[in-house]
């Protein structure tokens, strides 16, 4: 990998652009409107095309105004078709942005003689060439960095200024309206921010990859935090990180396979996706691993209690000890889970092992009695209130015994015998 000043600027521009997108993006995700970001970033194209046709130049101000106007028109049309045409939000967006995008493409083809821009550039952006487009004062700062930097600052400023207004109109629009904070004003301000950010970013990452910057880092942040402010901080951090990882992988990973490199903008989008994937799996709030661990530990808990129950009933019939295989057969689960559980129980001094046979300790006998008591009381309770056949009674009680709290235990009563005629162990 060879790193040059160009690469540094690519990362800086990408980072500024991504961070700028993350701010309106986070609000969009929280409002469940992220696809408005998608729709508006598509309609930047006709906005730019119209600005080109009218002014005949690539004047950035005209481009900005054109795109923001078309962006607001998009937001308005989506709303209008949805309310007056009885079309659901998604379809309404789909109709508006595809038609406007198609219109933009046709305009661009028609205007191809007058201005030099091609649809491919709109798609991919030209971040690789951004360094060569220097500012007129010759400070050595590429124009892309200035444009995206200004946009980031503007978005930050608006966010800080309207922080609590964005919060309340996103969480509870009805309360916001009753308090006099205009939700529709905030909506169109957000749409303006989105359109302006999209046009600033499109030269860098292209109009479709802006969508990745809008949606993916904020969605990732949403998986990682429960706090509103953290949502923005994390989204900005993740988007900058994605920009860095994206460029580095764009110039390194293909070289491992003998290629020279790939699209930086594309790689940045993929990097946001990779970060999302990581958060999806390892998020401490409700990532896949956490979810799986919850499932697994509940499962183990149940197996442990079942082992104690089985051993206690065994003693009730006069036997004392069992092999691991017999235990796993009696519980109906894999020997592996039984083995792990037994090891933990042994560590807690609840069961003991002599040669290959397992039996209860004194301490374990007490715990086991409590479990069996709870099981049999449940059977009594269920039999009394929801008469059903004896086999089902056992099944239901089997599930309930593991979740019985002490308060519930008290309410279950104090019967001496279960419906099958077995003794209920005394409460100790």
């Amino acid at each position: 990998m060879t790193w040059s000043i160009i690469d540094t600027w690519i990362v800086i521009i990408g980072g500024l652009c991504a961070a700028g997108c993350a701010i309106p993006g986070a609000i969009l995700v929280l409002r469940k409107m992220s696809l408005m970001g998608d729709a508006i970033s598509h309609t930047v194209l006709p906005g730019i095309a119209i600005a080109f046709l009218i002014t005949g130049s690539r004047d950035p101000m005209a481009m900005l105004i054109g795109s923001v106007v078309v962006g607001l028109v998009t937001a308005f049309l989506v709303q209008a078709i949805q309310t007056f045409g009885k079309v659901e939000a998604g379809a309404s967006m789909g109709i508006v942005f595809t038609v406007l995008f198609a219109f933009g493409l046709v305009l661009m083809r028609q205007a191809v003689d007058h201005v030099d821009i091609d649809p491919d550039c709109v798609l991919y952006g030209s971040i690789e060439l951004a360094w060569f487009d220097q500012d007129p004062e010759g400070l050595g700062i590429p124009r892309g960095a200035i444009v995206n930097g200004v946009m980031l600052l503007a978005n930050l400023l608006l966010l800080l200024l309207f922080y609590k207004e964005f919060k309340i109109t996103s969480f509870d629009p009805a309360l916001a309206k009753a308090q006099g904070f205009q939700p529709s004003f905030m909506h169109y301000m957000l749409m303006t921010m989105t359109a302006a950010t999209a046009v600033a970013a499109f030269e860098t990452v292209g109009s479709i990859l802006v969508v990745a910057m809008f949606i993916v880092p904020p969605a990732t942040a949403y998986l990682l935090t429960n706090r509103f402010s953290m949502m923005f901080i994390l989204a900005i951090f993740l988007s900058v990180l994605a920009a860095i990882i994206g460029h580095i992988s764009a110039i390194t990973i293909p070289t491992w396979f003998g290629f020279s490199g790939t699209s930086t903008a594309g790689a940045m989008a993929v990097a946001t996706g990779a970060l999302f994937l990581v958060a999806w799996v390892v998020s401490p709030l409700d990532g896949m691993l956490v979810r799986m661990w919850h499932l697994f530990s509940t499962r183990l808990h149940v197996v442990r209690e079942d082992i104690l129950g089985v051993l206690w009933r065994l003693e009730e019939r006069g036997q004392k000890e069992l092999l691991l295989v017999q235990l796993s057969e009696a519980i109906g689960t894999t020997p592996f889970l039984v083995k792990i559980s037994l090891q933990l129980l042994q560590k807690r001094n609840v069961v003991s092992k002599t040669k290959l046979f397992w039996s209860l300790t004194d301490c374990g006998r007490k715990q086991a009695a409590a479990i069996v008591r709870s099981h049999r009381l449940w059977e009594v309770y269920l039999d009394k209130h929801f008469p059903q056949d004896v086999h089902q009674l056992h099944q239901s009680a089997e599930r309930l015994e593991h979740i019985t709290t002490p308060e519930m235990q008290v309410k279950l009563g104090n019967a001496k015998e279960d419906p099958h005629g077995s003794q209920v162990p005394a409460d100790e």
């Binding site: 992220s34 696809l35 079309v87 789909g94 028609q110 191809v112 990745a212 293909p254 993929v270």
Partner: protein
């Protein structure tokens, strides 16, 4: 401007190229109209958008694999198979995100759409460097390149369109059930999950077919716009399917013709624009919930209410005076209207032969007008009395409400009211109160 000769050549499909493109996109339009109708009813419009964007890496991967195994990377069938596989992966990823995180549908769609599209761009760039096989044409799938179609492509589209029409015909009852009430369907023992999967597979097939002509960015338009337009013409499912298919077909034809005649008109976007035009026409002029029809209904209702108001006012005046004549002023007196409104309304009802103006300047309620006014008043009084009897509200309080309600009282509802009320409380017939011609 194209010459007449050119137009004739294009319309008569003389050119081989035009023929292929026109027939191909017409078949595509019909197929996407059919599938799109169900997609729209299932509220999955933008899932299809994510699906079409997700096909890009599939195309690149398929190309690389084919080149790696020494085949020609340009085999359309191979590329589209790759696209299909990745489209399905995209849909699965959306479902996965939705079911295992707290993110909602919109974010799931956005993530899949943008990340897979980004991946596609990366892979395409890499594919262009492959030593054998030229990947230059692959990016044509993004915006579509209808001119690259050959006869076999059009045939494939035709075959697919016919098969989709057949599947739709066979399954249209089941899919309607799926879209309308999924839970009921599954409680009735229908395999809704498989019906759903089959629908999404059909969507994926149509999307993949649309890649070549309209491109992946705009493929979703072919699916949803004809279907959304069809909704404004009918509310029954079978006519809606036919309408959507026709609109799709027609847009395809018009689009292909325009792009063949006018220079620098890319086929895909033109087709989408024409679809959009159809939508605008339907949205405004469609007989079901179209903008015009809704305004007209409202206007009609307002007029009817005004007509009934004036009839009742006339009847009340005539009843209290015991003569069927009245002056404009007496109407102004009982209703809080101004002179102009009353005269305007009177002129309107006189056209219906309810009233005639006497030479003295007074107005006369005709026999016909009398009967109509009596009906309106009777409905009104029934309702008013009903409210008084049952709702414990002072009569003066009821009046305004009853004014609104009477206009919706149909005959059966009135019969119900009569049953609920004492027979003696039903207002007398107009002739019995001493008003005679």
């Amino acid at each position: 401007m194209p010459s007449l000769e050119q137009i004739v050549r294009v319309l008569s499909l003389e050119d081989y190229n035009t023929r292929v493109v026109v027939l191909g996109v017409m078949a595509l339009g019909a197929a996407s109209g059919l599938v799109g109708t169900f997609l729209l009813l299932r509220k999955r419009a933008l899932t299809a958008d994510a699906l079409s964007h997700a096909t890009l890496p599939g195309i690149a991967v398929a190309f690389m694999i084919m080149v790696a195994f020494g085949y020609d990377g340009k085999s359309l069938f191979g590329l589209l198979t790759g696209a299909f596989v990745f489209g399905c992966i995209g849909v699965l990823a959306i479902l996965g995100i939705r079911h295992t995180t707290r993110l909602k549908d919109d974010a799931a769609i956005g993530i899949v759409l943008s990340v897979l599209f980004g991946l596609g761009l990366c892979l395409l760039r890499i594919a262009t460097e492959l030593p054998s096989g030229s990947a230059a044409g692959l990016s044509g799938f993004i915006f579509g390149k209808a001119s690259s179609m050959v006869a076999s492509d059009a045939t494939t589209m035709g075959v697919v369109a016919v098969s989709i029409a057949l599947v739709t015909m066979v399954l249209h009852k089941e899919w309607t059930l799926l879209c309308f009430d999924e839970k009921f369907g599954s409680s009735q023992g229908w395999p809704v999950i498989w019906l759903d999967i089959l629908l999404m597979v059909m969507v994926a097939i149509v999307t993949v077919l649309a890649l070549q002509s309209v491109g992946l960015v705009l493929a979703v338009a072919m699916l949803i716009i004809p279907a959304a337009s069809a909704r404004y013409w009918t509310s029954k499912i079978t006519p809606m399917l036919l309408a959507a298919a026709s609109i799709g077909c027609l847009s395809g034809w018009l689009g292909a013709v325009v792009s063949a005649l006018v220079p620098r008109m890319p086929t895909g976007p033109i087709i989408v624009l024409i679809c959009g035009l159809w939508f605008i026409i339907s949205f405004i002029a469609g007989p079901k919930d179209g903008l015009i029809i809704r305004q007209l209904t409202r206007l009609y209702l307002n007029r009817r209410i005004a007509k009934q108001h004036i009839l009742r006012a006339m009847w009340e005046v005539c009843e209290s005076n015991a003569v069927p004549e009245f002056t404009v002023d007496s109407i102004v007196y009982v209703r809080s209207w101004n002179n102009r409104t009353v005269i305007r309304l009177l002129k309107k009802v006189s056209k219906l032969n309810y009233v005639t103006q006497l030479p003295s300047g007074k107005w006369l309620l005709t026999e016909f007008g009398f009967a109509e006014a009596a009906r309106v008043v009777r409905n009104h009084r029934l309702w008013e009395m009903y409210l008084i009897t049952y709702a414990d509200i002072a009569p003066t309080h009821v009046d305004r409400d009853a004014d609104m309600i009477e206009h919706v009282l149909g005959r059966d509802l009135v019969a119900k009211l009569e049953l609920l009320l004492d027979a003696t409380k039903i207002p007398q017939s107009p002739h019995a109160i001493g008003v005679t011609q």
